[in-house]
């Protein structure tokens, strides 16, 4: 025989799925929210997103090549682009360039590559970047530009976000909740906030796409959203003046973005469906606790960050149901 036969163990076929396909699928799912952010925040959004993506990809490439000295570049797998977009989505649209670049460096350098790159990081890199910036630059990170100032960047006028109003209500300002935008506006995204988090509708489109393409399973987003709804609803029933309605909680801040794109990050979320639900419920609960009783108005990123740390523990204790454990019919 002319050519040698290849021998390998079965299976001899593959589904054709790949890391790239999944990563680019997530990017496609991010497009609606990206478009909304461009519409709402104009030039600022474009600059922030491009800077963040470019910086993330650059740092990934540079670290792989010069520090880790790996031959194979990993920028093609798309994970750095996702980190870049997600980091941008978590920033206000008037953030100066140098802060964004520092954020990208922390996200990729500290959050991802120190642990060995894709697949090894215990925390979502974009979250590491965002939390680092939030703690280091609290003023810049919490001044949110008013929507639809299309051509302004760092000079945009700012206003309080709905979450800040909700926090004031909890602290005893009885009129704060009345100033909240209408729920429909919150849903569509016509309110100040970080780039990508404003429009719940666009983010839900992304969720639908990812579920359809089977990139993620429903367990994490649904359990987070349901938990937030139930917890916020209970508090609202106790005191409607101090605690905002559950729908307002669902549609404000980074909740949707976090539940759909940040918490579902493959690397840092649990491996079993049971574990995913435990993880989702815990994130939802922690978010509400931080929002209502914590120092910060928004608790989503901290909640995900905390639960990322618990993921190995969840993996150890939440085993899938083994075949044969099911009770006989």
């Amino acid at each position: 025989m002319a050519n040698k036969l290849i021998v390998s163990l079965s299976p001899h076929v593959h589904s054709g799925d790949s890391v790239q396909k999944n990563m680019y699928g997530v990017l496609v799912a991010l497009i609606p929210a990206l478009l909304v952010s461009f519409y709402m925040f104009g030039l600022g959004a474009v600059v922030v997103t491009l800077t963040s993506v470019a910086a993330c990809v650059f740092f990934e490439w540079a670290i792989t090549k010069f520090i880790l000295k790996r031959e194979r570049s990993t920028i093609c797998d798309g994970s750095a682009i996702i980190t870049g977009v997600l980091l941008a989505f978590n920033l206000p649209s008037n953030l100066p360039l140098w802060i964004i670049i520092i954020g990208a460096l922390v996200a990729i350098g500290v959050g991802k590559m120190t642990f060995g790159g894709l697949g090894c990081n215990p925390f979502n890199p974009a979250l590491v970047g965002r939390i680092f910036l939030l703690i280091s630059f609290p003023v810049q990170m919490t001044s949110w530009p008013t929507v639809q100032q299309w051509i302004s960047y760092t000079d945009a006028t700012t206003e309080a976000t709905p979450l800040a109003l909700m926090k004031m209500a909890v602290k005893g300002d009885v009129n704060a909740l009345e100033q909240l935008p209408e729920t429909l506006n919150l849903f569509l995204g016509n309110n100040p906030g970080s780039l990508g988090e404003v429009s719940a509708l666009a983010l839900l489109f992304g969720l639908g796409y990812m579920l359809w393409k089977k990139i993620i399973s429903w367990h994490i987003p649904v359990s987070i959203l349901a938990t937030v709804f139930v917890c916020a609803g209970l508090m609202h029933l106790v005191d409607p003046v101090a605690y905002a309605s559950p729908l307002a909680h669902l549609f404000t801040g980074g909740l949707m973005l976090g539940a759909i794109f940040m918490a579902t990050d493959y690397v840092t979320s649990p491996m079993t469906h049971k574990g995913m639900i435990v993880y989702g419920v815990a994130i939802g609960f922690l978010t509400i606790v931080i929002r209502l009783f914590g120092a910060y108005p928004e608790g989503m990123s901290f909640a995900i960050f905390i639960m990322n740390a618990f993921t190995p523990l969840i993996n150890t204790y939440c085993k899938p149901k083994r075949f044969g454990e099911v009770v006989k019919k």
Partner: protein, 323 residues
Amino acid sequence: MDLILFAVISLGAIGLIAAVILYVASKKFAVYEDPRIAKVSEVLPQANCGGCGYPGCSGFAGACVKAADAGSLEGKLCPVGGAPVMEKVAAILGLEAVASEPKVAVVRCNGSCANRPRTAQYDGARSCAIAHATSGGETGCTFGCLGCGDCVEVCQFDAIHMNSETGLPEVDETKCTACGACSKACPRKIIEIRPKGKNNRRVVVMCVNKDKGAIANKACTASCIGCGKCVKVCPFEAIALENNLAYIDPNKCKSCRKCEAECPKGAIQAINFPPRKLKSELPPREAVVKPATVSSTVSDTASVNPTVSKTVAQALESPKAEA
């Protein structure tokens, strides 16, 4: 004043209670350990390599004490520390050290890329164990080295390396402690722990192929075909032929090298012998082409390197070999 008094009394009380608990616990849950185990442990190298066959040095120390109680340290050897350490151990335990022969790992396959034509291509995880389970290997020889380097991976002493030219592992005898990890890791049992032999010289059948002669011959130019010539020529009855494969008993072999000269396939190798002086004494062996395996250590440690004497001898015989 009260404050100081309270602090002193309460802290004192806590300390007292804790002391009582600790005392009770240390008495109640005390585990007796033979003090000799700690002493033996101290003289061991603490490499925790497991080469002795026990889980780490403390495990070995425990086994030694137990064996000493039974009366003899026979069979216990720390391959890293060797005889000096075993003498110390024996002294602690009040026994005579049992001298054991120094051993070394020997890769009994010479199916290099040049000797064994590839007939298939393995595509899978780089693990000999997995390749072994997948099929007979990439060549017609289903007994020989698979070349994925499981032995290299398990070696704690950096004493075995793959030669990229031959595709076979090579043992660095100066580093090998004969711990046997590679021998255990090899799914085909190619690596044997053999006595080092007098002056570090030994004669070995470098093949483990049990196929019939014709098949073995076709699969590899350096295979043992079970012709039995070596058995006949051996004056000491040190060679046994079983399942079409010759095996030289290291305890009987007197390193006369008659079998090496007799083997028509060059499967028997005399390791670490100086090259023979008279070429004319040797039978022509053009057919047995061995690649010139010249590793970096060859030039300065020619007498130690396992393959170099052989290689040099053959390079002299057959100038075509290197072409």
